[in-house]
């Protein structure tokens, strides 16, 4: 699909970049992305991908907005407490960019629904809050040969990687001991610094755009760790086991 005149105006700053230009912006328009989990990471990822003009965005989450979300989940406001996150998020995203389509799935990702939903999208972005669902995202993105942009948080730190990109390594290649690991606490149990989801979400959105544009170095086989307190980035390489 080509860009309409109004879209060219909305994306004009991108059209000036030789790395994007009109052909690159059309690639973004013709890309579909599923955001799994619309919490701290998912709000940031969905907002940036909407603004940037990803043509079709799916939002999956069965959770409702709660007052404790408002500290970091930037798509919601206090009048929406108790509403489905995907519904509240979709309203904001449609206002931000009327040229794209937003599809909502008011349910949690499971082994039963992952295959059907993932098959509708080119790229999957994992923004979930527990290891088990991250593992499900990895299993089905690997099966369907779709890149999975992983993000995860621990208090003031975050991790980003791209799994299953061009048959590259996956979640259990980066963390093989997960299969037998003890439970790992989520943000609701241990707390999370409000700024870190936005930083990690930006890094995830950046990987999505590079995959869609086929530009730059992808974090495939590389695990990025960022610490907001020390301002340090580290990248660790890993291979398929």
């Amino acid at each position: 699909m080509r860009l309409e005149d109004q879209e060219k105006e909305q994306y004009s700053r991108h059209l000036l970049l030789t790395e994007v230009g009109e052909s690159g912006q059309e690639k973004l328009k013709n890309t579909s992305v599923l955001v799994v989990g619309i919490g701290g990471l998912g709000c940031g990822v969905a907002q940036q991908l909407t603004a940037i003009g990803i043509g079709k965005i799916g939002l999956i989450d069965g959770d409702m907005v709660s007052i404790s979300n408002l500290q970091r989940q930037i798509l919601y406001n206090s009048s929406e407490v108790g509403q489905l996150k995907v519904d509240a998020a979709a309203i904001k995203l449609k206002l931000l960019n009327p040229f794209i389509s937003i599809h909502t799935y008011p349910t949690f990702l499971t082994k039963e629904n992952a295959d059907e939903i993932f098959s509708e999208y080119d790229i999957i972005v994992d923004c979930t809050d527990d290891i088990s669902t991250k593992n499900t995202s990895n299993t089905f993105s690997s099966k369907l040969k779709k890149p999975l942009v992983y993000g995860a948080l621990y208090k003031f730190e975050g991790q980003v990687s791209v799994f299953n990109f061009s048959c590259g390594p996956g979640y259990l290649d980066a963390f093989p001991s997960l299969a037998s690991s003890p439970p790992i606490d989520s943000c609701s149990a241990i707390g999370v610094y409000a700024i870190i989801p936005q930083i990690i979400a930006s890094l995830q959105a950046n990987e999505v755009v590079k995959i869609a544009l086929q530009k730059g170095d992808i974090l495939s086989g590389k695990l990025l760790n960022y610490n907001a307190l020390t301002n340090q980035f580290h990248i660790f390489k890993y291979t398929r086991k």
Binding site: G37, G39, G40, L41, G42, D126, C127, T128, D129, D130, I131, K134, G151, A152, L153, Y154, K155, E157, G158, Q159, A174, F175, P176, S177, L178, S181, P182, I184, D185, S186, C187, I190, V192, P197, L223, N225, N227, T230, H234, I235, F236, K237, Y238, K241
Partner: protein
């Protein structure tokens, strides 16, 4: 001296982000045993070990001149 880097929950348990220590040449599997004697709470944590910014299998040999990172997976989103 080896430079040890700690991340996430591991840094919290170790109460530091990094330290320099002399280590004998040993496999990653043996390093885990050595590390968990030094910091027993790590027995209850899942973590990966990298040498010079590369994650390796348990048989990989670590030496005293390496930067060794101890990386747990994160769950939050």
């Amino acid at each position: 001296m080896a430079k040890l880097l700690y991340f996430g929950q591991v840094a919290e348990i170790a109460n530091r982000h990094s330290e320099e220590l002399p280590i004998e040449e040993m496999s990653i599997a043996d390093f885990r045993i050595w590390l968990e004697r030094k910091i027993p709470e790590l027995t209850f944590v899942s973590y990966q070990i990298s040498a010079n910014q590369q994650l390796h299998c348990e048989a990989f040999m670590l030496t005293n001149d390496m930067e060794i990172a101890i990386l747990p997976p994160f769950a939050g989103g």
